[in-house]
Amino acid sequence: MIVYILMIVTILGAVLALMQRDLLKAAILTGVPGASIAFLYQYLLAPDVALTQAIVGSAIIPVFFALAVYKTRRVEE
């Protein structure tokens, strides 16, 4: 049952991240599919990959996008 919830959260987070006009919101919403994919790795019997994905996918990648948005412009033209 929890696998359906993770599947829906992953796809919905990916679509919502690409629909935002404010790029900082898009950068933060990029972390939502990364975190739910980390939970999905735990259910697929891969706990070491889940640890790496939880750090890289939900913390480091949104920070990279936020830094790039800070150095360029915030609103999509």
């Binding site: 696998v3 359906y4 993770l6 599947m7 992953t10 796809i11 990916a14 679509v15 991240a17 690409l18 790029l23 898009a26 950068a27 990029t30 599919p33 990364g34 994919i37 999905l40 790795y41 259910y43 697929l44 019997l45 891969a46 706990p47 070491d48 990959v49 790496t52 994905q53 890289v56 996918g57 480091i60 990648i61 990279f64 996008f65 830094l67 790039a68 948005v69 150095k71 360029t72 412009r73 999509e76 033209e77």
Partner: protein
């Protein structure tokens, strides 16, 4: 409708790859193109991990007291798990290089829209 963990993971991987290809081809903003490429990488990693899954199996850690034959029959296939661990980190670092190129392009051209940079 009852589907198991492996089939749900495959659906999620295919959906992520389709969303990523759509974003990388049809969206105009360069940062959103890079977000789409990151989604393609996540989808491919999820596909490889779900290929190694074994239904009703155990995590591939050999504890004392397990028989070797029983462990070989029930543990999940560990080779894609060891290699996807590398692929996640390489994907993050290549994405950092792409974002650096976008920052340099913004300083030279003053825009992050692909159609404005190409002059169309």
């Amino acid at each position: 409708m009852i589907i198991d963990v492996q089939l749900a993971s495959l659906f999620t991987a295919v959906a992520l790859i389709v969303i990523g290809i759509f974003a990388a081809v049809f969206l105009d903003n360069l940062i959103k193109k890079v977000i789409g490429l990151a989604f393609i990488g996540d989808g491919v990693n999820l596909f490889l991990i779900s290929m190694g899954y074994k239904a009703g199996g155990i995590v591939y850690i050999y504890l004392p007291g397990m028989a070797a034959d029983w462990f070989a029959q029930n543990a999940a296939y560990p080779l894609p798990f060891a290699l996807v661990l590398t692929s996640i980190v390489i994907g993050a670092s290549t994405m950092a290089v792409m974002l650096g190129i976008i920052i340099v392009l913004y300083k030279k051209r003053g825009s992050i829209s692909a159609s404005k940079i190409l002059g169309e």
